[in-house]
C-alpha cells in the first residue's frame, strides 16, 4: 500500500498533472488569469470548463482523468455531466486534490460540497464584515476585508513565509469544528470581524464571529488528499492579487498579500509542496548489518529510516530534528527522537524492552502542512533462552554447596556403609 502510494507520488512528480478548472462563466479565465497561468507554468495541464458543461467527467474506466480539481464556480446550481457532490467526495477519497471557492451567494451545491469536507459556509447573503480592517477600495459596507497576515496559519509550507502584508478578502465566512484535527485554519478572520448580512440589523447571534471564523480552510484527509476551501472567489482573482492595500489605520502596501498566499496555497493543495516519502528502512543489532530473525529482550538495536521531500519537482533529503520512532506492542514502549544526517537518513539506537511479544517499529510524522508519514515494520522479540540467564549467582552458593556436599556425602556414605568392617564387637566380646 505504502509502496503504491510512493509510486503514485513519484508518477505525479514526473508526469504533468491534469487539473480541471470549473467556472461559472468563461470570463473567470480572464479575471483569474494570474492564478491559472501560474498553474500552467508549474506544469499543470489545465482544462477550463463551465461547471454545467454536460461532458464533464472525472474518471473514465475507473481511472481518474485529473489529479486536481479547481471549482471557481460558486454560482453553479448543478454540475454538468457525471459530476456531483458524491463523485467529488469519491475523487477526494481516491486521493484527488480539490480547491473550492465560494462567495456570499454561493449555491447550495457548493455549500453541500464543502460540508462534506468539514467546512460550513455561512448562510446565503451573509458577508464577512470588519469595520476596523477593511481596504480603502471597499464599496462602503466594509466587506472588502484587509485581513492581517497574523491570521495566517504558521506554516511556511502552506502559505509561504509571512511578510506582514494584509490579505484582501470579500465573501462569506467559514465555520469549522475546532475539534476536527484534519481541518486546518489557513486564514483566520480578524477578531473584530463577523459574518452577517450587511444590510440587516443584527437580531440573532452571528454564526461566525472573530477568530473562530475562518476565511480560508484546508483539509488534509487521512489519505493525504488535500482540499482548500475559500469563502471568497475574488481571493484568487487578478484584481485582488494586483491590488494595493490601504487600511483605515493608515498603512499602505503596494501589493496585497494575496498573490504570494494564493501561489503558496495552490502549490500546497496540488501536492507540489509538503510531500514526504519513506525511501528505505533498516534495522539491525548494534554493530551488525542484517536484521536477525527475532530480537531478544534487552538487546541494543539500531533503526534507520530514509525520508525524502519533494522540492521543486524532485526528491531531496528531508531534514528535521523532530522525527520520532516508536517501538510499539499495542502501546508504545519506547518513543525516541531520531538523529538526522545530511542524506536524509534518520537513525536511533535503543535497548529492546524486557517484555517479549510482537512489536512494530513505527514512524509517524504528522506535521501541519506535510503529508502524513506513516511506516511500520513488524519484528518479534523473544525472552532469554535457558542458557542466556545468569549462571552462577552468589546468593545461590549455599544451594550449590549443599548439593555438592550431598553428592560427596552420598558417595562416601555408600562406600562406608557397604564396606565398613566393624572390629569393636569382637573386642568387646573378648
Amino acid at each position: 500500500m505504502l509502496r503504491l502510494l510512493v509510486l503514485s507520488v513519484c508518477v505525479a512528480a514526473t508526469v504533468a498533472t491534469n487539473t480541471l478548472v470549473l467556472v461559472d462563466t468563461l470570463a473567470t479565465r480572464e479575471t483569474h488569469s494570474i492564478f491559472l497561468k501560474s498553474l500552467q507554468e508549474r506544469g499543470h495541464e489545465v482544462s477550463v470548463k463551465a461547471a454545467d458543461d454536460p461532458s464533464l467527467q472525472l474518471s473514465r474506466y475507473g481511472e481518474y482523468l485529473y489529479q486536481n480539481l479547481v471549482i471557481l464556480a460558486p454560482g453553479v446550481e448543478e454540475f454538468g455531466g457525471a459530476l456531483s457532490v458524491e463523485t467529488i467526495v469519491e475523487f477526494v477519497d481516491g486521493g484527488g486534490n480539490v480547491l473550492v471557492a465560494g462567495s456570499r451567494d454561493a449555491a447550495d451545491l457548493i455549500r453541500e460540497l464543502v460540508t462534506e469536507v468539514g467546512v460550513e459556509m455561512d448562510e446565503e447573503g451573509a458577508a464577512v464584515i470588519d469595520h476596523l480592517h477593511y481596504d480603502a477600495n471597499d464599496d462602503g459596507q466594509h466587506t472588502l476585508i484587509a485581513a492581517p497576515s497574523s491570521g495566517l496559519i504558521e506554516s511556511d509550507v502552506m502559505v509561504g513565509p509571512s511578510d506582514g502584508t494584509p490579505i484582501l478578502y470579500r465573501g462569506t465566512g467559514l465555520i469549522t469544528d475546532a475539534e476536527n484535527p484534519l481541518v486546518l485554519p489557513v486564514l483566520r478572520a480578524p477578531s473584530t470581524s463577523y459574518c452577517y448580512n450587511p444590510t440587516q440589523a443584527i437580531t440573532d447571534y452571528p454564526h461566525a464571529t472573530g477568530q473562530n471564523m475562518l476565511l480560508v480552510a484546508a483539509l488534509q484527509a487521512r489519505n493525504n488528499a488535500r482540499v482548500v476551501v475559500s469563502g471568497s472567489l475574488e481571493f484568487f482573482s487578478d484584481a485582488f492579487i494586483m491590488a494595493s492595500v490601504q487600511t483605515p489605520q493608515g498603512s499602505f502596501h503596494e501589493r496585497s498579500g494575496n498573490g504570494k498566499v494564493v501561489e503558496a496555497l495552490s502549490r500546497w493543495v496540488f501536492k507540489e509542496e509538503g510531500v514526504l516519502r519513506v525511501v528505505s528502512i533498516d534495522h539491525h543489532l548494534e554493530g551488525e548489518k542484517h536484521p536477525p530473525a527475532a530480537y531478544t529482550i534487552k538487546q541494543d538495536v539500531e533503526y534507520k529510516i530514509k525520508v525524502e521531500r519533494l522540492v521543486a519537482g524532485s526528491w531531496k533529503p528531508f531534514n528535521t530534528t523532530d522525527l520520532q520512532m516508536e517501538f510499539v506492542r499495542i502501546d508504545p514502549f519506547v518513543r525516541v527522537t531520531m538523529i538526522p544526517n545530511s542524506e536524509g537518513v534518520f537513525s536511533v539506537t535503543f535497548k529492546v524492552p524486557d517484555v517479549y511479544g510482537v512489536y512494530q517499529f513505527k514512524v509517524e510524522y504528522n506535521r501541519v502542512g506535510f503529508t502524513r508519514l506513516f511506516n511500520t515494520t513488524q519484528v518479534s522479540v523473544r525472552p532469554f533462552t535457558h542458557l542466556e540467564y545468569e549462571r552462577f549467582i552468589e546468593c545461590a552458593y549455599p544451594y550449590y554447596a549443599s548439593a555438592i556436599s550431598m553428592m560427596v556425602g552420598v558417595f562416601f556414605f555408600s562406600l562406608v556403609f557397604l564396606h565398613h568392617k566393624d572390629p569393636a564387637p569382637k573386642s568387646k566380646a573378648e
Binding site: 480603502a136 462602503g140 477578531s191 473584530t192 546468593c395 552458593y397 554447596a401 565398613h420 568392617k421
Partner: protein, 633 residues
C-alpha cells in the same frame, strides 16, 4: 407619495441599469498595456499589430518605432500571404510607417478578392488593399461579399462584412442593411448587457464594423441608444481581458464608442470616496466617455439623493458644480444639509447639446454619510445571580481601562451597559456591530457576545457566569473585556479594552476534558522504557555464611567418622565393586556436568550408559556382599 416613490423607483430600475458604471481607469489602461507589452520582442506579427493598435488607442508611446517598422517591412516581403500583408499593413498604418506595396503584393491582394472567398479572407484582402493604396472595384467586392454571406451568415461573418463595407467607396447599402440582422442576434444578459455569442472578440468586431460602416455610408446604424449602452456595459465588464487579441478588439470597440457620429456612451462614476463625512463633505461625480476622457462642459444635475433605509429624499434637482482643476468632475456639497447617517442613492443626469451622448441620464450612484459616535454612560460590574443584592456597577470612560480587576464566580452575573451616541445629532443610536469580546489573557482564546439594545437604545450585556461555562470552556482565570463598536456608517469604529475580569468557574468535568488527542501535529513526549529492576539479593556475607554452614555437616561427618574409626577394610577388591563406585562417582559427576554445560538429552544418554553398567556391577557387588554375610552368619 407612495406611488410617486414607486414610479421613481421603477424609473431608476430601468434607467440606472443603462448607464455604464465604469470606464477604463488609468489602472485598467496600465494593465492592458502590460498585456500588450510582450509583443515588442517582435516575434509574432499578429501580436505586433495588436500592440501597435492598442498602444495607439491607449495613447502610449511605442518603444523603438523604427525597429518595429523594419520588422513589419521584412515580414511583408516577397511571398507574403494576404493575411500577412493584412497584418503588416495594418500594423504599419497604426505605427505611422506605411509599408510600400510591391507588385507581387498588389497582385496577391487583388487575386484574393474573388468570388467564393470567405468574408474573413475578403476582410483581410480589402483591408490590405486599402492600406497599400490599391484601388478597389466596389461592385466586385460587393458581389464577393454577398456570396460569402450567402454561404455563411453567422454573426462573425457579418462582422467582417461590415468592415469590408466600411472600406468601400460608393453605395454599400446591401451590406448596411445586414446590420440589423446582426444586432437582433445579440443576447441580453441581466437586462443590462448585450453580447454576441462567442464573446468579446465577435461583439467588438461586429460593433466596430457596424459603426464604421454607418459612418462611411453616413446613415444612423439601426442600433438603439439603449442597445448601444448595453453593448458598452458588456465591453466594460470585459476590461479584465488578458489576451492581446482580446485587448486589441476591446480597445478598437471602446475607441469607436468614444469617437463616432452616432452614439457615445457616458460613464457617470463616483470620483470621490464613497464615504462622505464632515472632513470630506462633497460628493464628486465624474462624467466621462468610456476611455475616461472628459466630454467638455456639461450641465450635470443630481435628480435626487435618497436614503436607502427609509427613502428620505435629501436632495432633489440640484446642479453640480464643476470641480476646478479636474476636467469632467463635478461636485455637490452634502454635509451642510445635515443628512442622517446611512447609505444614499444619488441619481445623476448629464445634459449636453451633443446629441451623440447616450446613457447620460439617471445614473445611480451610492454614497454613504459617516458620522462620529461616542460611547457614553459605560457601566460595568457584577451582581449576584439570585438578585439578593443590588448590582455593583462602576463607571468607565472611553478610552481608559478600569483600574482594578473585577472578579466573578459561578454565583454571579457580569453586567455591562453603554450608550452609543451620534455626535452629530447628539441622540443615542444603534450600530450594526456592538460586540463584547472577552479574551482569556493566557491562552488568547476569545469569546464574543452580542450586546442587545432596549427600547431606549441603551446597550446591555449580561451573562450569568454559571450558565456560560460551556462558552468559556470552564477555564477560570483572568479575562480582558473589550468592546467592539462598528458600523459601515460611522467614522470612528472602536475597539476598546475597558476592563479586566477574573472569572472563576466550578471545577467541572469540562475543564478536564482536554483528552489527549490521538491525532496531533505536535512532537509527542519521549517514552523511555523502564526496565524491571533485578530482585534484591542477600549480601554475599549471608550467602558465604550459609555456604559454609551447608558444607559444615560434611566435614562434621568426616571428623566424626574419623573419631569413630570408620574404615572400609572390607572393601572387596573385585571388578564389580570398583566399577560400581566409579560408576556412582560418574553419575554424580555427570550431574555436575549437566549443571555446568550439558543439556538434558546428552545427559540422559550418558546417564543410561553409566547407569546400566553401575546397575549390574552394583547388583553383582551387593549380591556378593550379601552372600558373604550369609556365609559369616
Amino acid at each position: 407619495m407612495g406611488r410617486g416613490v414607486l414610479v421613481i423607483l421603477a424609473l431608476l430600475g430601468v434607467c440606472s441599469a443603462l448607464s455604464p458604471s465604469t470606464y477604463l481607469t488609468p489602472g485598467d489602461k496600465e494593465r492592458l498595456k502590460l498585456v500588450l507589452e510582450p509583443a515588442w520582442s517582435l516575434s509574432d506579427l499578429a501580436q505586433v499589430l495588436y500592440a501597435s493598435a492598442g498602444y495607439k488607442h491607449l495613447g502610449q508611446v511605442i518603444p523603438n518605432v523604427q525597429g518595429v517598422c523594419n520588422f513589419i517591412k521584412s515580414s511583408a516581403g516577397d511571398g507574403a500571404t494576404v493575411e500577412t500583408l493584412f497584418l503588416a499593413s495594418s500594423a504599419g498604418k497604426a505605427l505611422g510607417c506605411p509599408i510600400e506595396a510591391s507588385a507581387a503584393a498588389i497582385q496577391a491582394v487583388s487575386e484574393a478578392i474573388r468570388e467564393g472567398a470567405s468574408s474573413q479572407e475578403l476582410y483581410h484582402a480589402v483591408t490590405a488593399a486599402t492600406n497599400l493604396g490599391v484601388a478597389l472595384d466596389t461592385a466586385k467586392v460587393l458581389r464577393a461579399t454577398q456570396l460569402a454571406l450567402k454561404k455563411d451568415d453567422s454573426v462573425l461573418s457579418l462582422g467582417y462584412a461590415f468592415h469590408v463595407g466600411a472600406q468601400l467607396k460608393g453605395e454599400v447599402g446591401s451590406i448596411f442593411e445586414r446590420i440589423e440582422d446582426a444586432v437582433v442576434q445579440a443576447d441580453e444578459v441581466d437586462g443590462r448587457m448585450l453580447q454576441f455569442e462567442g464573446g468579446l472578440s465577435i461583439t467588438a468586431l461586429v460593433l466596430s464594423g457596424a459603426y464604421k460602416l454607418a459612418e462611411s455610408s453616413n446613415k444612423t446604424p439601426p442600433i438603439k441608444p439603449d442597445q448601444a449602452v448595453k453593448f458598452a456595459n458588456y465591453l466594460m465588464t470585459r476590461k479584465s481581458v488578458q489576451m492581446p487579441k482580446g485587448v486589441y478588439y476591446l480597445l478598437e470597440a471602446v475607441s469607436m464608442f468614444t469617437n463616432n457620429k452616432f452614439h457615445v456612451p457616458v460613464a457617470i462614476t463616483l470620483a470621490s470616496n464613497v464615504a462622505i463625512s464632515a472632513d470630506a463633505p462633497t460628493v464628486q461625480v465624474r462624467v466621462t466617455d468610456l476611455k475616461g476622457n472628459s466630454l467638455g462642459p456639461l450641465k450635470v444635475t443630481a435628480d435626487s439623493a435618497t436614503r436607502e433605509s427609509d427613502e428620505v429624499v435629501i436632495i432633489s434637482k440640484e446642479k453640480l458644480a464643476p470641480l476646478a482643476g479636474a476636467e469632467g468632475v463635478y461636485e455637490l456639497e452634502v454635509m451642510s444639509r445635515g443628512p442622517a447617517r446611512g447609505f444614499y442613492r444619488l441619481v445623476v443626469s448629464a445634459d449636453a447639446s451633443d446629441t451623440r451622448l447616450v446613457g447620460h441620464t439617471a445614473a445611480t450612484l451610492t454614497f454613504k454619510v459617516l458620522t462620529a459616535i461616542s460611547i457614553q454612560s459605560v457601566e460595568i460590574g457584577t451582581a449576584d445571580s439570585d438578585q439578593s443584592t443590588a448590582p455593583s456597577l462602576q463607571r468607565v470612560t472611553y478610552p481608559s481601562t478600569l483600574g482594578e480587576n473585577l472578579a466573578a464566580d459561578q454565583h454571579q452575573r457580569v453586567m455591562l451597559r453603554f450608550l452609543v451616541r451620534d455626535t452629530a445629532s447628539g441622540r443615542p443610536t444603534r450600530v450594526h456591530q456592538a460586540f463584547v469580546k472577552i479574551t482569556h489573557v493566557d491562552s488568547a482564546r476569545e469569546i464574543i457576545f452580542v450586546a442587545e439594545t432596549d427600547a431606549n437604545d441603551l446597550y446591555k450585556f449580561d451573562i450569568d457566569v454559571s450558565s456560560s461555562v460551556k462558552e468559556f470552556g470552564g477555564v477560570s482565570g483572568l479575562y480582558s473585556v473589550e468592546l467592539v463598536v462598528g458600523d459601515a456608517c460611522i467614522s470612528n469604529p472602536t475597539l476598546w479594552h475597558l476592563a479586566d475580569i477574573s472569572l472563576t468557574f466550578p471545577d467541572s468535568s469540562l475543564s478536564s476534558q482536554s483528552s489527549p488527542n490521538e491525532y496531533t501535529y505536535k512532537v509527542r513526549p519521549e517514552i523511555k522504557h523502564v526496565f524491571r529492576s533485578p530482585d534484591q539479593r542477600p549480601s554475599s556475607l549471608v550467602s558465604t555464611t550459609f555456604t559454609v554452614l551447608c558444607i559444615l555437616p560434611l566435614f562434621v561427618l568426616l571428623i566424626m567418622w574419623y573419631k569413630l574409626g570408620v574404615n572400609i577394610s572390607s572393601f572387596p577388591f573385585t571388578f564389580s565393586a570398583i566399577v560400581f563406585h566409579i560408576g556412582l562417582a560418574g553419575i554424580l559427576g555427570l550431574f555436575c556436568l549437566f549443571w555446568l554445560q550439558l543439556d538434558m538429552f546428552t545427559t540422559l544418554r550418558y546417564l543410561f550408559m553409566i547407569g546400566v553398567v553401575t546397575f549390574f556391577s552394583g547388583n553383582y557387588m551387593l549380591s556378593s556382599i550379601a552372600a558373604k554375610r550369609m556365609e559369616v552368619a
